[in-house]
Amino acid sequence: MTVNVGIIMLVHTALHRAEQVARYWVDSGCPVVIHVDKNVEKGTYDKFVLSLSDLPMVRFSRRHRCEWGTWGIVAATQEASAMMLADFPDVTHVYLASGSCLPLRPMNELRDYLEARPRTDFIESATTADVPWTVGGLDQERFTLRFPFSWKRHRRLFDAYVSLQRRVKFRRKIPDGLVPHMGSQWWCLTRQTLSAILQDPDRGTYDAYFRKVWIPDECYFQTLVRLYSTRIESRSLTLSKFDFQGKPHIFYDDHLQLLRRSDCFVARKIWTHADRLYEVFLGDPLKTNQSEPNPGKIDRIFARAVDRRTRGRSGLYMQSRFPHEGWENGVSSGPYSIFEGFSDLFEDFEPWLAKTTGARVHGHLFHPERAEFEGRQPVFAGGLSDSPTLRDNNGRSFLRNLIWNTRGERQCFQFGPRDKQYISWDLAKDPNAQIIVISGAWAVPLFLSNSNFADLREEAARLQKIESQHLDILRSIYAKARIRVWTMAEFVEAPMEALQTVVDEISPKQGRRLTEAPRMVNLAGFGQFLQNLKNQGMHPFLIGDFPVDPVPTNATRAARKPYLVR
C-alpha cells in the first residue's frame, strides 16, 4: 500500500501564507483540509476560499472559534479529520499542521519516511508526571480541575477558580481507561488510529471530559492515541520549539541555513514576512538525503535563549537585567581577590603578585583620593574612571563593572581601613570574592612614618576601629566570600607559607613552590612601637601577640634564601 499523506491546516491569520503553503502541498499530491478560525471575518474568509477554489484537492471544514487553551481547536481538528478520512479514501496518514507551518523537505521524502515505518503514529505523548514543560504550574491538575474561564481574557477568574477548587479539594474523575498524556499539538497519525479515535463508542464521554480540561489540544489526541495505536513514535515530525512562557519560537530569514540543516519535515512557526524562507522552501525542492530529522542545533539555540531569559549572564547588570539581591545567579561574573594589609607589609607586593600569579593587580581601588588601577592609569577597562566622586557615586556598580569588563582575567586589589568602607558588605557577600587579611598591618606605615606619637596613637585607634568593624562583617553569617584572616603576628612568623597558600588558591594549576619572596619592610623596632602604643593605653589587639624582643624575622631572612629548595 502506498503512503498517501493528507494535511489538515488550522489557520487563523496570514491567510495569504496559508494559501501559498496549501498550494505547495496540493502540488506535491497531498489533499488538504483547511479549518479557518471563526474569528476571521466573513469577507476575508470568503476571499480566501475563493483564492483556493481552483484546487479540487482542498476542502474547508466547518469553522469553530479557536481560542488558545480551549476546546475549539480540538473540535476543529476532529471535524477536519473526519472530513479528510471521508472525502479522501486513499489517504493513509493525516498530518496536522498550522497556517504558519512551512514544509522544509519535499513531500515524497516524507512519504518514503512514513513508508519505511509502517503503522507508526508520530505523536509526542508523555505522561504528565515526567514532563517539565507545563506553564503556569498546572500539570496533573489540568486533568483533575475544571477550567470554564479563559486564561487569556479572564486571568483573574481563572486563577481564582483554580485556587477555589484547590481549597475545597475538588477533583474530577478521569474516565476509566484513560491515562493522561500530553505533548506537542502537531502530529501525524495513521488512518487506523485516527479513525479509531473518532469512531470510538465512548467518544461522547471522552469529549465531555476533555472539554473542561485545560489546553485540551495538547492532550486529547495524545491521551487517546495510547488506547489504539499499535506503535507510537513519541515525537513530532514538526519542528516546533517553545519558550519559557509556552509560546512558540518564531523562525526568520536568518534561520535559513539552520532549518535546512535540521532535516525536519515541517517547521513551525514561520514569521509571516519571512519572504526568503517561503521562497526557498516552497520553490524548487532541493535534493536532500534520506536522513533522520536532526534539530539538535536549533534545539541548542533556543535552549540558550530560554536560559538567557530566565537565568541571564552572571555578574551582568544592565538596562534589561537588574536582579534583586539573592537572585543574581552569581553576584559577579568571576572570581577576584582582595588583599588587606599586604601592601603595607611588603614594599613591592603589587608587582610581585602580578609576576607570580599572572593576574591583574590593582592598588587600593577604593582609596579616598583615586581608584588606583594597575599602573595608576587614569582610565581602566570599559572606560572606568579613576575619579573618586564617580566611583563613590555608585561603588557597587563600579566593582561589578570592573569584574564584568575583565571577564577571563583575574583581578586582585588592595583594601584596608584607610579606604572607603561602603563596599565591605558587597565584598563579604560575594562568593566570587577571595578576601585575605593581615589584620593590624595598617600599623606598619604608622611605624615607618615621621609623625608625632600623639597623632600616631589617635590614627592607630581610628584605623583599628575601622578594621575591627570590617572584620565583624567578614565574620558575619551573611559572608559568603572565601575569607582568610591572619593577625600580623601570625603572618610574620611564617610569611612564605601563608603566601604560598594564597598563591595556590589564585592559580591552582601552577602548583609550584614560590621561588621569590616580596620584600618585607624592616620591622626592627616594631615590637617596641607596639609596646609604646600599649603604654599609651591604645591596645593594638588586631595585630596579635607581636614579640617585643628579639626583633623578628626580617633581618635574618635577608641573609639567606629560605624555602628555595626542598
Partner: protein, 336 residues
C-alpha cells in the same frame, strides 16, 4: 504599590496629558500626511532644531529599518531642514517657535502627537542624532521585532543611550550631509555605567559612559540619564514623563528583569559628538533651553574648546549589535 501612590501617579499622568492637550496650540502644521498612516504602521516621532545636515541619513536609516511614517516637530529651525522634511513623501511636520524648555524639552508636543496619531501603533521616539539598534537588526526588519513583542505581550522596549565619539578632537573630521555619522563617531565606552532603581516610577536610572567620564566626573549626580524606552505600543492614555527616560503608567518602565533573567533590549547609538556640536554647544549654552539651564552644553563648551580627545585606550570601536550584546550593553533576551 499602595492605593494612594497609584492614585498619585494616575493624577500625574492625567496632568501630563492635559498639559499635552493644552500645548497642542503651540504647534502649527507644515505638512500633514497623517491620512496615509495605516493601522499596522510603525511611526517615528522626533523633535528637532537646526539639524538639517543630519536629516538625509536619519531618514534613510529608519526607512531601511521599516518605519512607515515620520512625525516631526520643528522647533524654530532656520537652516532649511523644515522645508526639506516637508518635501518628503512619508513625513508630517509641525512647527513651533515656543520655548523648548517650557514644553518640558519637547515632550509636551510629542505627547500630544502620540495621543493624536500614535494610538494603537508601535511608536519610536528618538532624536535626530539617535540610531536605534536592536537584536538581529542586520537581518530582521523592525516589524519582526514589533510582531515578536506583540506575540510576547510586551508593550515597551528599552534601548539605552550609548554615547559615540570620534578618535581625536571632535572638530577634526567634518560631518557632511548624508554621511553615516557612525563612521566618524565610531567609539564608545563599554562598561562604566552606573545603575540604580527609581522606586517612584519603577524604572532604572542609568548614568555613565563617556559624558560622565569626561565632563561630569566631579558632579556625577548631574550626568545625563541614559535609560530610555523609545519603542512603545502606544495607547492614548500613556504619557512620557521625562524625555523618553520614563513613562506612565509605570508598568511600561519595567523593561528589566528582576529575577536574574535578561529581557530583550536594544541600544540608541547617540552620535552627538560630531564637529557640528561645536556650533550647537555655543548656541545652546546661550539659549539655556536645555536641561538644568544647559549645564551640559556649558560643560561641553569648556571641554571642547581646548580640543579634548574623548577617546582613550579602553574605548571600543563599534562593529555591530552582536558586539554590544556580548559586551552586555543590550540583550537578545529569549528572542532567537
Amino acid at each position: 504599590m499602595g492605593l494612594w501612590r497609584s492614585y498619585k501617579l494616575r493624577f500625574q499622568r492625567q496632568k501630563w496629558l492635559a498639559r499635552a492637550i493644552r500645548k497642542r496650540r503651540e504647534l502649527s502644521v507644515v505638512a500633514d500626511r497623517t491620512h496615509q498612516i495605516r493601522q499596522s504602521d510603525i511611526l517615528l516621532f522626533c523633535t528637532l532644531r537646526n539639524e538639517d545636515v543630519r536629516l538625509p541619513y536619519f531618514l534613510q536609516y529608519y526607512r531601511d529599518l521599516g518605519v512607515n511614517h515620520f512625525l516631526f516637530v520643528d522647533n524654530d529651525s532656520s537652516d532649511g531642514g523644515r522645508e526639506y522634511l516637508a518635501d518628503q513623501p512619508d513625513v508630517s511636520v509641525w512647527k513651533t517657535a515656543a520655548g523648548y524648555k517650557r514644553s518640558r524639552f519637547g515632550m509636551d508636543w510629542i505627547n500630544w502627537l502620540l495621543m493624536r496619531h500614535g494610538h494603537g501603533h508601535w511608536t519610536l521616539v528618538v532624536d535626530p542624532d539617535e540610531f536605534f539598534v536592536y537584536p538581529f537588526c542586520d537581518t530582521r526588519p523592525l516589524r519582526a521585532l514589533t510582531d515578536w513583542l506583540d506575540a510576547s505581550s510586551i508593550k515597551s522596549f528599552s534601548a539605552m543611550l550609548l554615547d559615540m565619539y570620534p578618535k581625536g578632537p571632535i572638530s577634526s573630521v567634518p560631518y557632511q550631509r548624508g554621511d553615516n555619522p557612525l563612521e566618524i563617531a565610531s567609539w564608545f565606552d563599554s562598561g562604566n555605567y552606573m545603575i540604580s532603581r527609581n522606586d517612584d516610577f519603577g524604572n532604572l536610572w542609568i548614568q555613565g559612559g563617556v559624558r560622565a567620564r569626561t565632563f561630569f566626573s566631579d558632579m556625577p549626580g548631574s550626568a545625563p540619564a541614559l535609560n530610555k524606552v523609545p519603542l512603545v505600543k502606544w495607547n492614548r492614555r500613556y504619557a512620557y514623563v521625562s524625555s523618553t527616560h520614563m513613562l506612565l503608567p509605570r508598568g511600561l518602565n519595567l523593561v528589566y528583569d528582576e529575577w536574574g533573567g535578561e529581557k530583550a533590549s536594544g541600544i540608541l547609538l547617540h552620535t552627538k559628538f560630531l564637529d557640528t556640536l561645536t556650533v550647537k554647544a555655543e548656541e545652546e549654552a546661550k539659549r539655556r533651553q536645555h536641561y538644568a539651564a544647559s549645564q551640559e552644553y556649558l560643560a561641553y563648551l569648556s571641554g571642547l574648546q581646548d580640543q579634548t580627545d574623548l577617546w582613550c585606550k579602553w574605548s571600543e570601536k563599534y562593529i555591530n549589535w552582536r558586539q554590544l550584546e556580548i559586551l552586555g550593553l543590550m540583550s537578545k533576551g529569549n528572542w532567537a
